[in-house]
């Protein structure tokens, strides 16, 4: 098992005829993702790498049901930032239960409205500004790995879940864990923005319920409260699997945004020290240097097999 994505889930791609849409459809198909349809308004009837294109999500969903034995489970969105809100809400209203929003620079009030629609329809979304999700050996959503052959060689299948606020560092964390022999159930990049669909605590709860995930590794960052909220779940006993974490931005100054919209310390909140303290007190292992992460993860896993929980 894995979380969020596997080889059986039916996936559609919104914006499939665009430059990014085409390139990433190639990656997803090459890796083994079950991409069954795409949508681009006014491009219905075309094909992208053998995948049929429809004008609307509703049409694509109907095609899925007729030809692939069920509804579209996931939509991956590759449309320009200013069109993301309409595209994501279209998918949510058509009944798609997981929407993966890759584009960067989505206005935050748009993200709030997407969240509102998702809540009303019982859907989840990942992003905006996510590199995607990959369950090694099964399927990939978005653009993690860039190319199918890279994704295959970089990420190993196994029992550790990775959650990251950075796209590049999702790959990096996963790769270095693989180098010390740690395989992964699923890697989820939650996105770099300040208002996101699934956040650390949501994904951690999914890993908690996943019988194939034994430990969780997180790449956190300054800003926001995702790390603190995860710590609260650990303290309350809702997340019991071992958590190993690195928090980026120790050297960051308050009031300056470091690339990611969410990576800003404001009013003394979201500091590196605050996050390290919250997670440490909740029982997580927090490493000071990114290079120490694989070793700490090995120790955490050894702790499980020897029956110790500390």
């Amino acid at each position: 098992m894995a979380i969020l994505i596997d080889e059986a889930k039916r996936v559609i791609v919104q914006g499939i005829t665009g430059r990014e849409g085409q390139a990433r459809t190639n990656l997803m198909l090459g890796y083994g993702t079950n991409v069954v349809a795409g949508c681009t308004p006014k491009k219905g009837g075309q094909e992208v790498q053998g995948v049929p294109v429809f004008n609307t999500v509703k049409e694509a969903d109907a095609y899925c049901r007729e030809n692939h034995g069920g509804p579209a489970d996931v939509s991956v969105v590759f449309v320009p930032a200013r069109l993301v809100k309409a595209a994501a809400i279209e998918a949510i209203q058509a009944g798609v239960k997981l929407v993966v929003i890759v584009p960067d620079r989505v206005p935050v009030w748009d993200a709030i409205q997407i969240a509102d629609a998702a809540k009303a329809h019982g859907s989840h979304f990942v992003g905006p500004n996510t590199l995607g999700i990959i369950s090694p050996g099964k399927a990939v959503l978005g653009m993690i790995g860039g190319r199918a052959e890279s994704a295959k060689s970089w990420f190993k299948q196994g029992n550790v879940g990775v959650i990251s606020r950075s796209g590049g560092m999702s790959s990096s964390t996963a790769y270095y864990l693989g180098q010390v022999g740690i395989g992964l159930s699923t890697i989820c990049h939650v996105g770099g923005d300040s208002v996101l669909g699934l956040r650390f605590p949501d994904v951690a709860l999914m890993f908690e319920d996943d019988p194939d995930t034994e430990a969780i590794v997180i790449f956190g960052e300054i800003g926001g409260s995702q790390e603190e909220d995860l710590a609260a779940l650990m303290k309350s006993g809702k997340v019991t699997k071992p958590v190993v974490a690195y928090i980026g931005g120790k050297a960051a100054k308050e009031g300056t945004r470091f690339s990611h919209a969410g990576a800003i310390i404001e009013g003394g909140k979201g500091t590196h020290a605050g996050k390290v303290k919250a997670l440490t007190e909740a029982g997580a292992t927090v490493v000071a240097s990114f290079g120490d992460l694989p070793e700490a993860a090995l120790k955490a896993i050894a702790g499980i097999s020897s029956g110790s929980t500390s």
Binding site: R82, V108, Q113, R147, G167, M169, A251, F258, G262, S289
Partner: protein, 516 residues
Amino acid sequence: MARLHEYQAKALLAKHGFIVPRGGAASTPEKAGEIAKSLGCPVVVKIQAWTTGRKAMGGVVFADNPEKVVEESKRLLSMTVGNFPVTEVLVEELVAIEQELFVSLALDDAARAPVILLSLAGGSGIEERAGDVNRLACDPKAGPDDVQLKTLIAASSVKAELQDAVASAVRGVFEVAKTYEARSLEINPLVTTTDGRVIAADCRMTIDDYAVFRHPELGIEIARELDHPPAALERLAYDIEQADHRGTFYFAQLNTKADDGSKGLVGFHGAGGGGSMMSMDAIMSEGFTIANFTDTSGNPSAAKVYRAARIILSQPGLVGYFGSGSGVASQEQFWSAYGLAKAFWELELSIPSVIRLGGNSEDRAVDVLKDACADLPGKVEGYRKDDTPRTISQRFAALVSESSAEPWSPRAPRTPAFVGSGASFPINGGTVWIDTAGCDAYAARLAVEHSSGLLKDDGGVPVLAVSEQDAAGKDSEFIACEVELRRAGKPVVYVELDVPGLEEVLDCAVTIGGGN
């Protein structure tokens, strides 16, 4: 920057039905005096600065006559708050305050919705009185719940005849924030007056950077959060980013001098938000001070990486150039290598450089960088994903300590002699030059081979194989061609790329240096 000053935010509030004190902003003491005269004294004069506690730092003064306003404004306009010089003061009428309230809106990342904080107890130390603050969850479309809001206000000490006006103000905060896509909006204090009005006495507002394009009416010049006014290079970098949407380029200047005890000031070039931050932590823990934070990622064009390097190398005093991102990049890394190699060659890089290009096509990227920079006075080394941030930070420190190079001084780029005399055609943001006189059959064949199909061999001279229109957007491919030909020892193609405004900034820096 997407933060609005008090007077700008108040103008938006007034447009949406709020009562704000009469007044106006001034950037000279004389203008401040005139405003005071037209308002009638007494007045209050407040520095316009992004900070709390202006009163405590002497940034708020009361004046009984225009002469005092002029005199005090002289002092206020020479103040500095953090790294920001005060450039404007706001002169306002005094209002007869009865009660001070507080209302603010923020975006709650856990709720994924706006939340309003409301204090009806009055006072200015909101942080210390967290117990008196009520949280009102907001529906993203409709705002705060009316019944909850009215119940809260009814239970407070706000006079019955003013309760509706306070409720309207709270709803107004939501409407204004939504209209202008604010990330935060705070009115502290919202006051009730002895003559029975509800007035927004102060206001702080931050607009979402990503929504600024939908609000040209706000006149926001640079939609980025920095802890200082945008420096000249930051403005240029922002313009480059706006002009080229292939990938992301982010540049923030952090230091112009190395910290005490530091191993020196470093030009920092990250890739990817998290990877950049992690690499920044790694190089700083090695004892260096970074001059800037830069991130080129999201599959940036070679042209964008080239311009980023030019901006970074416009900072004086660097002891080295350090590039590192996540190390396992999904993007094709050779584009970054081409951009860096071109910039380093043009500027004859004399300081050591370590660049980690791990990820897709890392071998090609490292080879390109190594060969193309082999003849430069500064040592340039490329690394892959299996080289950790710590290892390369240590390697960088070793190179810097071995190096006898002077700290970097920004310079104009060198150009090959055939620029101006060879054949040329325009592309977006520049010109491609071909050394027709120096070209031989072998060079022409190589040029065609490395041109991604854009050039063809016309009797021993490479010429455009596609229309100028089709070639216009291929700046990165031409940069690749230029660098490959230099690697092969046949540099017959050169891409002259504009970095708009950079020359002026460098001239200016020279003048300042010359005056010392």
